[in-house]
Structures are given as C-alpha cells and as structure tokens.
C-alpha cells in the first residue's frame, strides 16, 4: 500500500478534523445502542414510574418464545427470497443491457427508476396491483384457479411483501452488476470466444466468476436490506399480518415496543438484531478477503 501519509504539526488538529463524524457516530449510533442495551436488561412498568433490573430475563424469554422464533425463521425465508429474486433479476437485466450496444443508456435509466420510489409507495403500488377486489393481478390469477387474498392468506401476504421488497432492490443490483460486467475486459471475452466458448458459456465461466466480488458485496447488502430496511414496505401493505404471518424481526421490534409498549423485550430484540448485523458484517469481511479475490 502506498497511501500518502500526512503529518500534522498540531497534535490536536487531526482529532478536531475527525470530530464532526465522531460526534455524529457517538450521538446517533453508539449512545442509542447503549441505551437499547441498558433497557434490555430492565423492566419498566407501563407508566414509567419504576424500573427494575432483570438481567438477561428478556433474552431468555425471547429465545424460548415460539412467536419470536417464528419471526426469526420467517425473516430468514423473507431475506433469502428477496435476495435471490432481486439479485437474479438484477443480474439478468444487467446481462441483457450489457449485450445491447445501442440505447443501453435508456434501458439503464428506466431500470434504475424504481430505486427512486419511496418504499412506502412501492409497497402501496404492489398492494394495489394485488388487491383482492380491485387489483389486476388477482383477476388474472383467478383464471388459473388461484383465489388471491393477502388479507386472509399468510402465504399470499408473504409473497406480496417479497415481491414489493425485491422489486425496489432490483435497480440497485442491476446498476452494480452492469458496472461489474462492463469492467470485465473485452479481450477476455474475445479470447474465450476464440477458445470455442459460446455466449452463454462465456457468461457463466468468465463473466460470472469475475463478478464474484460484486456478487458477494450485493449478497450482504441485500440480506441486510431485506432484514432491516423493509419495515416501511411491510407497514404500508400488511402491517405484519395476517396473524403475524409477515411479522419480521424488525417489524416485531416496532410492534412490541411502540405498539405493545413492552420496552424491555423490544430493546432486547434490537440488541439481538445488532448482533446479527455484526456477525453478517464480520463474515463479509473475512470472506471477501479470503475467497472472492482472484
């Protein structure tokens, strides 16, 4: 690494320059996290008059609570489905646009648009499309004998939020995959063509392996997105129902804390979520540094 080293004459100056970022991090990230941890080991009465220290009671109770374990499992399914769907389609679109030489910028612009749509709007949009009495999609599905009703059918509700969440993320994945594909050296593809490899085979044996750093980065980003950033979509469409069938971990934090006012348990759930993020990030860095480079 030949990073340029800067030397400061004043010892305080570097800290001063870092201060704005450090203060923001402390006030908006570290402090709330500490608060969450503190209240996760306390129990507060409903009116906020008294607080009792309860140790790890909340955690113990959560990890034996079938509702919580269900939400955990559901979140896993949701995250995997959203990630696979949005990455798969993003890659497919990117590969298609990469092959188009003319007007590829127009396609790119159109494909990026959904990303600009606010999550709530994206949720409502699909909610309308899938609305069991007025939506266009249930109308067509009925021709195949499917009675679509995400207000009553938990599986339908889950499919709805998966589609809405994935749809919004396709743009993001598309952009990264397109940039990745375009940075694959042209000569490599030509060499492979001369080596007797057809377009499809070239894509899978040359382009895709070279995209592996992008793919892995997107995998982590998408899993994180699906687990933590999909609250608005769920809140705008199913509000976690029916019968909690679309209550993911994040949504449960909100419901237990802000609706149910069980602040202790809600805090404990946020701390667990934080741990999951940390594990994911850790895995990402270890894995990216080891395997994905070539």
């Amino acid at each position: 690494m030949d990073t340029k080293r800067t030397t400061f004459n004043n010892r305080l100056l570097p800290y001063l320059l870092l201060a704005p970022q450090l203060i923001i991090t402390l006030v908006f990230f570290i402090w709330p996290a500490a608060q969450a941890f503190k209240s996760s080991v306390e129990r507060e009465d409903p009116f906020g008059f008294s607080t009792v220290f309860v140790g790890l009671d909340h955690y113990r109770r959560l990890l034996t609570d079938p509702n919580y374990l269900d939400a955990l499992w559901r979140t896993g399914i949701f995250a995997v489905a959203v990630t696979v769907l949005s990455m798969g389609l993003g890659l497919a679109f990117a590969a298609a646009v990469d092959r188009v030489t003319r007007s590829s910028r127009i396609y790119t612009t159109f494909l990026v648009w959904p990303y600009a749509v606010a999550p709530v709007i994206a949720g409502v949009l699909w909610w309308f499309l899938f609305n069991s009495s007025t939506g266009i999609l249930p109308f067509y599905l009925s021709k195949f004998g499917i009675r679509w009703d995400h207000d009553l059918n938990g599986t339908h509700a889950m499919i709805l939020i998966i589609i809405a969440a994935a749809w919004k993320q396709i743009s993001y994945n598309f952009l990264f995959f397109l940039a990745g594909l375009q940075s694959v050296p042209h000569a490599l593809m030509e060499a492979a063509a001369i080596d007797g490899s057809g377009p499809v085979k070239r894509f899978f044996t040359i382009a895709l392996p070279l995209l592996s750093p992008t793919t892995f980065f997107l995998f982590i980003i998408n899993v994180n997105y699906a687990m933590f950033d999909t609250f608005p979509i769920i809140d705008a469409t199913t509000t976690g129902g029916p019968a909690q069938s679309t209550t993911t971990l994040v949504y449960k934090v909100y419901q237990d804390g802000f609706v149910g006012l069980n602040l202790g348990s809600s805090s404990a759930q946020s701390v667990l979520l934080m741990l999951i993020v940390m594990v994911l990030t850790f895995v990402q860095f270890r894995y990216v540094e080891r395997r994905v480079q070539y």
């Binding site: 000569a187 030509e190 492979a192 063509a193 001369i194 080596d195 007797g196 490899s197 085979k201 044996t205």
Partner: protein, 366 residues
C-alpha cells in the same frame, strides 16, 4: 496448417469511417507475416477481421479453402495472443491452457498430454497451479502463447504481444516466438508498430498506412527498396534521410551541393531523394561530397549518429565513433545507394545507377 487469402477486404465502420481499404494479401502455409504500421493504420483491425472479432465489410477472407467471413471465431481454427495477454484471472495456468480444449470436448488424456507438452516447451511447468496474477509479465506472455499452442490451430494471430514487456525481455521473447513458430511450422500473422520487431520476425513484411497496404516484401527487400517515402521513413532506425533534390539530366542538386549520377537519369525536375544513414560517410578530401553542418551527435557504441544540415535540410549519418567531429564537415554518398521518390506522390521511382558506374574507392576499414 493452412494458407490465408485476403481478397479486397475493407472495413467500414458505421458513420463511414474506413479503417481498412481494399487489402489483398496471400499468406502461404507456414509463413510468418508481420503487419506493421503506425497506430491507427488498420493493422489490428485487419487482424481482428481475420480472427472473426470484427465483421468484414467488403471482400473475403479464406483460411485454407474455406471462406470464413460468416464463420464464428471458434470455428476458424485459429488461436490468438493478445496484447494484454487476456489470461482468465480466476483460473490457474493449467485451467487457462485447458479451457479451449475442454470447450472442444477433447479427451482428458489428450488435454493432459498437450498441456504438459506446451508447458515443457515454454518452461512454465512449475507455474501450472498458479493464478496469472502471481506471474511476471514474461511468464504471463508464455502462458498466453501456451494457450495458443495447445489448441494446435492452423493459424496463430499475434496482436502486439510484446508491447507490454520491458525492452530486454522483448528481445528474448521475440527470439522465442520466432523459434517456436519455426518449430511448429504454423502459419502466423503478427501485428506490431515496432519496425525492429517486424524486421526481425517476418518472413514477409506488410507495411500498412492509413488502412492501405504500402508495400509487401521480405524484410530486406522492403529495407533496401522501399516502395514509398512512407515506408522509407518507417522501416529502419534511424529513419531514412529524405531530402528534396533537383535533377538536371544526370546531375542531382541537393541544396548547395551537386552530385554526378554518372549517366543515370531516373527522372527530371524536383524529386525526393532518400539515403540511409549508414550509406553516408565522412568524405576524404579528394572526393565529391556534400557540405554538412553538425548539430549534435548520438553515441550508440558501435556507431555514432551525427545529426546536422545539408543546405537547410536535416540529415543523419551513421559514422564510426573514431572519426573526429568538426562543426563543418563534408560527407560523401555511394550513389548506388540513393533512392528516388516522386516528389508529388511519394512513390518510388524504379531503376538503379548502373553497376559499372565509376565510384570512389570505399572507405578504408578502420
């Protein structure tokens, strides 16, 4: 093994830009052809058309007896070595070599045999399990060549394969490419902008300029009888001196000096006169000579290049380093070594000074 016929081939890009214009070229089986020219002369485009990486706008290309215009690169029975090697970075050297063979469903035993043979020939056996990024430039170059060799194609195509290497390595790899090609006897087309590389490698040299062929010939033919002022100035280092001269009968006037061509009258009026630096020498007192005003000298060790002016026209001469340098000198020229070109078109004016012409005795050996 195959011959290649390029017939009236042109490349016209959308927008009407002509990269290659009406190229005709016949390459015999086993021949080593070098396409040489400045950047943008269309040499790479021509090679890529033969490879099938660019479509052929006009004309046709035949490899062996087949017209390959509409045939995919993979089906043309060619292998190509790219300028930046184009090794697959995520595969080991062995996988790089095997890739083309696996795509062609070659039996495993055959693949192993060919890979080992190529690795032995190129001395890359100990790197077979490494990834390209763990190799030096020269080793990558060898792997790139290995990838071409294992396929046993009818034609090798080289697209400036040595331009990313340092000067010393380039010279040794040049020798290796030549040796390898001799040994395998595979028809080869090699593209370069380096005239020295072109001279040393080619059985037949093709000089391109502005998308057209300027001259085709054996390296020494091209060197000794350049077809145009462009070829004259492009092939050979230092470049051939080209000066403006006036012909009156068999008298040639260059600036203030007059040269007697002893009965030879290639043309009349204004011509471009070419003479190579090594065909000039410092004149003895008693012979016909040109006044030369020294500007500066370059030491090459075995030779010294002196740059200066004859009249107001720049001239470079290669002289022995033992000769004394003076600000004003006289240089002599062997008139049989003069080249005449049309002043208007730059084309060579054919013909030679008759061999029986009376010449000054050659310079004594130092």
């Amino acid at each position: 093994m195959a011959s290649i016929d390029v017939e009236h081939v042109s490349k016209i890009y959308t927008g009407g830009v002509r990269a290659v214009t009406d190229v005709n070229l016949t390459i015999a089986d086993g021949q080593f052809i070098v396409l040489v020219g400045p950047s943008g002369c269309g040499k790479s485009t021509l090679l890529r058309m033969i490879a099938g990486l660019e479509t052929i706008s006009e004309g046709q290309v035949k490899i062996g007896d087949r017209v390959v215009n509409k045939i995919e690169p993979a089906e043309r029975d060619i292998a190509m070595v790219f300028q930046n090697y184009a090794l697959y970075p995520h595969m080991t050297v062995r996988q790089n070599l095997e890739y083309g063979l696996k795509n062609r469903k070659t039996p495993k035993a055959e693949i192993d045999a060919r890979v080992n043979e190529a690795a032995r020939m190129l001395e890359i056996g100990q790197y077979l399990d490494r990834k390209p990024r763990a190799l030096s430039g020269g080793q990558r170059q060898r792997v790139a060549m290995g990838r071409a060799i294992v396929r046993k194609p009818a034609v090798f195509l080289f697209d400036e394969p040595l331009s990313n290497l340092d000067a010393k390595l380039r010279v040794s790899m040049r020798g290796e490419i030549k040796r390898l090609q001799r040994r395998l006897g595979t028809t080869s087309i090699y593209v370069t902008h380096d005239q020295l590389e072109a001279m040393t490698l080619a059985d037949k040299l093709v000089v391109l300029n502005g998308g057209r062929i300027e001259q085709i010939g054996a390296p020494l033919e091209v060197y000794h009888a350049p077809a145009s002022t462009f070829v004259a100035s492009f092939i050979g280092s230092p470049a051939m001196n080209l000066v403006k001269g006036e012909l009156h009968g068999d008298k040639l006037a260059i600036g203030p000096a007059m040269i007697d061509l002893q009965g030879y009258t290639p043309a009349s009026g204004t011509v471009t006169v070419g003479v190579r630096a090594e065909d000039l020498r410092i004149a003895r007192a008693d012979e016909e000579s040109l006044p030369f005003r020294l500007d500066y000298a370059e030491e090459l060790g075995a030779q010294r290049l002196i740059h200066g002016l004859v009249g107001d026209q720049p001239i470079t001469a290669a002289v022995s380093p033992e000769m004394e340098l003076l600000p004003e000198m006289r240089i002599a020229v062997d008139i049989r070594r003069l080249h005449f070109f049309s002043f208007e078109t730059g084309k060579r004016i054919p013909g030679h000074v008759p061999a029986e012409a009376k010449l000054a005795p050659p310079e004594p050996v130092l």
